[in-house]
């Protein structure tokens, strides 16, 4: 579970954060300023400080925010001086942008704000489309504008080269003032509210944010161009509104609500990818006619509001098609304000006690939640009592002195506005000005003569009365609100209204109804108010926009930290105190003493209970092995018996009927090599492999009626398999890890004969056991450092545990298992055909594919009938158009083609008669396993150095690629602390996609354009090396993966070809040339013994073909690093493997190497494999007519 932060401002204007894994409020690192409001998302926070300026707080990450400036230098050849800067009058400027239309000299580039700095001086880019150019970086063409090549030809008349320079955003972990570059007259008046969100509307540019602000005059402003590499945005633009706005709230998607002075809410419509600022407003009336809306907060598809009488309301029926929703429902509790978090979770600030409450029980099916629960976390500063308490006190006094005078003014303002309904002509300006002015520490205009219609005492009184009639009122409201909708929806009533319970109110009697409508003002505190450290903090504002809480995350916010758990503030890999506690040690020690005392001398005694055979039986479905293949009901029995040596073994029997005849098949569980869940949305099914069945590509497939039943069987069968193979506890450092396309993680213990010895162990005999969790890729080394990356690019580090997932109880370690979640997308396609009458429509030809289909067009997939990949997944978003399809799309997401199936392009031409667009929907899995998140950088690829030395304390080199393509180097990784400490950014001129580090610190990487790079001078002393050397890729191939073993370097191109780098010597580490090894390869891993393992496609088995199969290169020898042939292991449906942990060399290997060399191929021929193993040059491809065994795991 990734941790995230809840942001809050206390009544003194100090900003605090509370982590979802933490227990204490932590003071914001930059404490220079006091704030009125903050609005947070995951990567940053925007706020309005007491000076009414807008600030943005960008978290310091290890990855810098960089922006590449570029300009082109253009030259023309003339017979006199050769190429020179003298251009023809009709030519472009000597310095221009890429199109040549814009004049841009090097010195015309300036930093956009004081928060930026230059990274280096201008330099020439010597890379064109993945190919290195000559020194100088010139590319040649016949004339401007034209295609440029790196080679100078006889007719090259012009040339140009690209200059680049990076600037870096330096204001991180501090509040950076948003400097407005508009002329002073255009400057918006002081801001009073701010809200950020909208990052889910589009993917491009990365990190795009909608920043909305409200000024004191009630105008709404939109900040242009806020995105990852421009965290400040460029300018404010005003958005017309139907009235004066007081407060605004922006959700992560397209929901945007604001409140008007008159008490209505306005809802922005037409917000989408092309119009992030929306098109128009529509008005929603307040839930009660007497009390207007004071505050509104929106989430993904929920809206909460607080009316002027502090009542909290939930808006029903809100979604992206109907952003206005249908009706209000009153909730229990009185709040100053509410805020909605990432998955519609809600927080509020209690009206009476100024505590922050969390809404418990908010689920997708029950968006309004169940009850408010107070967060009792204390501040970090309160823990260390020394000194800080006095400073807190003085800070408090300072503030209260300032604001004391204005207390009345605020109340008056409040009273004024709450009487608005009677006095519609009440002057607007004074009403809006006082709170702001007061809050500013007021210099003028605070004494507004307005009738005090509501004094603090009265309001308290009124509330009490109000509370007693709460139910009645609520019922009334219900009737009103359900008017437009049928009464069937009245079910809402019993969620909240009936259990009108009072929340524990921490009595602070002097706090009465004081905050203003805008509640902008600092909360006035009487000077006599003791603000001791034992008091709970009093809050003015809270923002949950960056806080992700889901049902599975245990929060520590609701208990006062006790002695035992306080030191376990955040999860860490170090041993927790509970494990080292004296009581625990004593129990272990006494138990072993007891066993010794009571058993040692009496082992010859007879056991009271004789061991017997235990049978578990049940009914499952079996994918029968004769045609036509289908599921049939079978009885199954697992017989467990104890052998004479005390070891247990088991046999699984499957009883079936064949032509009215009772038959059975049986499997000895000590022969089973893997039990794997099969992705199947309709059935809870799993597959059982033995070496023989791996050869056949035909496992035993079984299905259970319920997920629970399947997991019970899986758990039991797994345990029996492990027991019969005497495997228990965590995997060793040498373990081979792999991941299936389902995200399941498997681990196998290598034996020395796997890579060495005269008789290599065939890899179909490897035993794989599952480890809990869900990952896209996994990388390890031989020191037990294991990292993984989820489908949502979250980085995870292995904790040393085992089990998790469905493997529970005894086969799972008690510690080191944590909740893990992952998010991925499900895609479906909308297909249309053009016809002369109606244009494009969803009426296709009879021969066409389904109008809603999968990518292949063979399966019908509608929005309604498409389910998450398995019952473990739940939808976490609605269907949305995916614009990031390869080939590009038009503004509505369509891709055009002449016919189905064909290559699609993003614009319509005359020849196009069909079009399609891709819809995506996010789904989420929550499971558990021995993994801990490594925040905050999302990763794309990882590589860990396989080291031959076993020095325990030494740092382990770990390189990674972020999801944005940054190259990173992890510092502080050791065997004891595998998570490391921080990232070191390694500059590149373009985004990268793959990296690998060899045993001798040889770092190779692949850029997104498909070219390879070698990093020079990487060493333990210089972990990031010094510079990149561009290595040309194999002819016409774009590379996608690199793996470096001890000395071997292999790369994989986008067409599935595997290449070996020849000519690498210690003095020339870049090598000389690429040598083709094999095709049909999807992924590969080169290990510390230079062993080569791959995931291959189209592997032939005796029954069927499989895709995504683990293969081992045999015959790899120092003199034959490319190996000879493939040995096929488990598959299909495998996605990733890492063998970089396996450095177990058989001790004799060095002596025997010469003899072994001929033994390899001979041995293979002698095996009964019947041509399974093909020679190195033979492609893995076989005839397509065979049935593809995609059922194995089902990709």
């Amino acid at each position: 579970m990734p941790s995230s932060l809840l942001w809050a401002v206390d009544i003194f204007g100090r900003v605090y954060t509370l982590s979802t894994v933490g227990q204490y409020w932590e003071l914001c690192k930059d404490t220079q300023l006091e704030f009125k409001r903050v609005s947070a998302v995951k990567q940053c926070c925007w706020g309005i400080a007491c000076d009414h300026q807008v600030y943005t707080y960008v978290f310091s990450g290890d990855v810098p925010i960089r922006y590449q400036e570029e300009t082109y230098e253009n030259q023309r050849w003339n017979p006199v001086g050769g190429f020179c800067e003298k251009l023809l009058p009709s030519d472009r400027w000597q310095w221009s942008d890429v199109s040549g239309l814009k004049h841009q000299q090097l010195d015309s580039f300036t930093l956009p704000s004081p928060h930026w700095e230059w990274e280096s001086d201008w330099y020439v880019d010597e890379n064109i489309g993945g190919e290195p150019t000559e020194k100088g970086g010139w590319t040649y063409a016949i004339d401007f504008p034209s295609t440029y090549t790196k080679d100078k030809k006889w007719n090259s008349c012009v040339r140009r080269r690209r200059w680049i320079r990076y600037r870096r955003y330096k204001a991180r972990d501090v509040w950076a003032k948003i400097v407005s570059q508009d002329e002073p007259g255009q400057l918006p008046d002081p801001f009073s509210d701010i809200s950020i969100g909208g990052w889910e509307i589009t993917d491009e540019p990365p990190g795009r944010l909608s920043v909305w602000a409200v000024s004191l005059q009630g105008r709404v402003w939109y900040r242009e161009n806020v995105c990852h590499h421009n965290p400040e945005g460029s300018a404010w633009s005003v958005i017309a509104t139907p009235g004066e706005v007081v407060q605004i709230s922006c959700g992560p998607y397209d929901l945007l609500w604001a409140t008007l002075w008159e008490g209505q809410a306005i809802v922005r419509e037409g917000i989408d990818r092309n119009n992030p600022e929306g098109i128009s407003w529509s008005i929603v009336e307040s839930p009660s006619s007497e009390n207007g809306i004071m505050h509104v907060s929106v989430g993904v598809d929920v809206v909460w509001c607080v009316t002027k009488d502090r009542k909290v309301w939930f808006r029903r029926g809100v979604n992206s098609h109907n952003p206005c929703g249908t009706s209000w429902i009153e909730m229990v509790g009185e709040m100053m304000m509410v805020t909605v978090g990432l998955n519609n979770q809600v927080w509020g600030i209690g009206c009476d006690d100024r505590a922050i409450y969390f809404r418990q029980g908010v689920t997708p099916s029950e968006l309004s939640g169940k009850t408010w629960k107070a967060i009792v976390s204390t501040r970090e500063s309160d823990r260390s009592q020394s000194g800080s308490s006095t400073s807190l006190l003085s800070a408090g006094c300072f503030f209260t002195d300032e604001i004391q005078n204005q207390t009345n003014a605020i109340i008056q303002g409040d009273a004024d506005t709450s009487s608005d309904t009677e006095l519609p002509s009440a002057p607007m300006n004074p009403a809006s000005a006082p709170p702001a002015a007061a809050a500013a520490g007021g210099d003028n205009g605070t004494e507004i003569p307005a009738p005090v219609t509501l004094d603090p005492l009265d309001s308290g009184h009124g509330e009490a009365a109000g509370a007693s009639t709460n139910n009645e009122k609520a019922n009334l409201e219900m009737h009103k609100s359900t008017n437009p909708s049928p009464s069937a929806e009245l079910q809402w009533t019993n969620i909240d209204l009936k259990e009108a319970q009072k929340h524990p109110v921490l009595s602070l009697s002097s706090f009465t109804e004081t905050s203003s409508l805008s509640s902008l003002g600092m909360f006035p505190v009487g000077a006599e108010e003791p603000y001791g450290t034992d008091e709970h903090p009093l809050w003015a504002w809270v923002s949950g926009g960056g806080c992700l809480v889901d049902l599975h995350s245990p929060l520590k916010w609701f208990t006062v930290p006790s002695g035992l758990s306080s030191s376990v503030q955040s999860l860490s890999l170090s041993i927790t105190p509970a494990q080292t506690a004296a009581w625990r040690k004593q129990i272990f020690q006494q138990l072993s003493e007891r066993t010794k005392r009571e058993l040692e001398n009496f082992r010859h005694y007879e056991q009271a209970v004789e061991q017997s055979v235990w049978v578990k039986t049940g009914t499952l479905q079996w994918w029968r092995n004769w045609k036509p293949h289908k599921w049939m009901d079978v009885r199954v029995a697992l017989e467990q018996f104890t052998g004479s040596d005390g070891m247990r073994d088991s046999i699984l029997f499957i009883y079936y009927m064949y032509h009215e005849e009772k038959k059975y098949i049986h499997v000895f569980l000590n022969e089973v090599t893997i039990i794997v869940e099969v992705l199947n949305e309709a059935k809870h099914s799993f597959a059982l492999y033995t070496p023989e069945r791996t050869k056949q590509r035909w496992p035993i497939r079984l299905a259970a009626a319920t997920e629970q039943e399947m997991h019970d069987w899986l758990s039991l069968l797994n345990m029996s398999c492990c027991e019969s193979r005497r495997i228990q506890g965590p995997p060793s450092h040498h373990a081979i890890w792999s991941v299936t396309c389902k995200g399941d993680i498997f681990v196998s213990e290598p034996c020395p004969e796997l890579e060495n010895g005269p008789h290599l162990m065939p890899c179909d005999q490897m035993f794989w056991r599952q480890v809990g969790g869900h990952l896209r890729l996994i990388e390890s080394n031989n020191r037990g450092v294991v990292w993984g990356i989820g489908y949502d690019h979250t980085a995870w580090v292995y904790t040393g545990g085992y089990g998790g997932g469905f493997i529970q109880g005894l086969a799972s370690s008690a510690d080191n298992i944590y909740t893990q979640s992952d998010v991925k997308c499900v895609y479906i396609y909308e297909n249309q055909r053009w016809n002369p009458v109606t244009g494009y429509s969803s009426r296709g030809l009879p021969t066409d594919r389904y109008m809603w289909s999968d990518a292949s067009g063979l399966q019908e997939c509608t929005k309604v009938n498409t389910k998450p990949p398995s019952p473990q997944w739940t939808w976490v978003s609605d269907w949305y158009i995916d614009f990031n399809t390869s080939g590009g799309t038009d503004r509505e997401g369509w891709q055009y083609a002449a016919d189905f199936p064909a290559s699609y392009h993003g614009h319509k031409t005359m020849k196009d008669f069909v079009r399609r667009r891709r819809w995506a929907r996010k789904c989420k899995i929550v499971t558990n396993g021995p993994w801990l998140e490594v925040p905050p950088v999302a990763l794309w690829d990882i590589s860990i150095i396989p080291s031959s030395t076993a020095a325990g304390e030494e740092a382990v080199a770990l390189w990674a690629i972020s999801d944005k393509g940054d190259v990173l180097c992890r510092l502080g990784v050791t065997q004891q602390h595998p998570a490391g400490t921080s990232w070191l950014h390694v500059g590149t001129d373009q985004p990268f996609i793959s990296v690998s580090i060899g045993a001798f610190y040889q770092v190779w990487a692949i850029a997104r354009d498909g070219s390879a790079f070698y990093r020079g001078s990487v060493s333990p002393q210089k972990p990031a090396g010094d510079c990149w050397y561009h290595i040309p890729s194999p002819q016409k191939q774009k590379l996608k993966q690199v793996s470096v073993g001890r000395t071997s370097v292999f790369v994989l191109d986008k067409n599935g070809n595997l290449w070996y780098r020849q000519g690498i010597t210690p003095s020339y580490p870049q090598g000389a040339a690429w040598d083709h090894v094999s095709n049909n390869i999807r992924k590969m891993s080169v290990g510390p013994l230079d062993q080569v393992w791959v995931i291959a496609d189209k592997v032939q088995g005796s029954h069927s073909l499989s895709c995504g199969t683990v293969c081992h290169r045999t015959g790899v020898q120092p003199m034959e690093p490319k190996g000879l042939s493939w040995d096929y292991g488990i598959g299909g449906g495998w996605e990733h493997i890492t063998i970089r942990g396996n450095a177990t060399e058989a001790s004799r290997a060095v002596h025997d190497a010469p003899e072994e060399q001929p033994a390899g191929p001979e041995e293979l021929d002698n095996e009964e494999g019947k041509g399974r193993r093909e020679s190195s040059k033979t492609p893995l491809m076989v005839s397509e007519s065979q049935e593809l065994d995609r059922n194995a795991v089902n990709c």
Binding site: P554, S562, F588, R597, A608
Partner: protein
């Protein structure tokens, strides 16, 4: 590597070497040899003594045989207490093997329950589990289980199948992540020195302030006499499964790891031997 799971195994596989001798007044046809057996601590006497019964019946006249019962140093042993508890309560700190006297006559009706068949033991065992789950989860977990799961718990105990038992029992040991423990800890405190059979009260694993309750907290609350005063000498021993956990041990952990198969924490409080 020490893992909490190992505690479960150690607890399960605890054995007490026992020597059964026939009561001297029983009438036999020939001399009865003592019978030696390793008794599982977590099981019940009448469940694991078929062999003992057969052994002694061989030397007795058929008409003399009636219901078997056991006695240790004059105390009839209650079969419905787990064996480990009986040993800790009555015989710890004595020399091993544990010497139990076997009776076939004069069944002490006021001390012991009859046990005519294994069904009686099963009924008692399941009743305990259900009571424990009522305390832990308001009976929700046990009620959601199927009949076959209940059977598996019992068969696991009867056949001494650790995995079989724990495959189901682990569900009884879980609690929702938002809580930090069970609702109440199922425990029973036995004192060798009093007449009262045992103490059982409602006791939560977590204090109202959020701290974990420890074994010491429990004893202080329900059995203060067991606690040694600060300055005083230790007069009592607090025993579970033949060991003395520290009073700082969290109760929730104890309940999860050191409960008997009936899901109760059976705690014996016995006088500390003086030597």
């Amino acid at each position: 590597m020490t893992d909490d799971k190992d505690v479960l195994r150690d607890v399960w596989f605890g054995r007490i070497p026992t020597c059964f001798t026939l009561y001297q007044d029983e009438i036999t046809e020939r001399e009865a040899e003592p019978y030696y057996l390793l008794l599982p601590r977590i099981s019940y006497l009448t469940l694991v003594t078929d062999k003992v019964k057969k052994h002694f019946q061989k030397v007795m006249r058929q008409e003399e045989v009636s219901e078997i019962w056991f006695e240790y140093e004059g105390t009839p042993l209650k079969w419905h207490y787990p064996i480990g508890l009986l040993f800790d309560l009555h015989a710890s700190n004595t020399a091993l093997p544990w010497s139990i006297t076997v009776h076939f006559k004069n069944f002490p009706e006021k001390d012991l329950l009859h046990c005519h068949s294994k069904d009686v033991i099963e009924a008692h065992f399941m009743a305990c589990i259900k009571e424990a789950d009522a305390l832990k989860h308001k009976s929700q977990v046990i009620n959601e289980m199927q009949k076959k799961d209940h059977k598996q718990l019992w068969m696991g105990l009867q056949n001494d199948k650790f995995e079989q038992f724990w495959a189901i029992n682990r569900k009884l040991m879980e609690y929702p992540p938002e809580d930090s423990g069970f609702r109440y800890i199922p425990f029973r405190i036995y004192q060798a020195t009093t007449e009262r059979p045992f103490i059982q009260k409602l006791f939560r694993p977590i204090a109202s302030g959020g701290q974990l309750h420890t074994l010491g907290d429990l004893l202080k609350d329900v059995c203060p006499s067991a606690i040694t005063p600060e300055d005083g000498e230790q007069k009592t021993q607090v025993m579970i499964h033949g060991i003395e956990p520290m009073l700082e041990t969290p109760l929730q952990w104890l309940s999860e790891h050191m409960s008997y198969p009936d899901n109760f924490l059976h705690i014996s409080i016995i006088p500390r031997p003086t030597d």
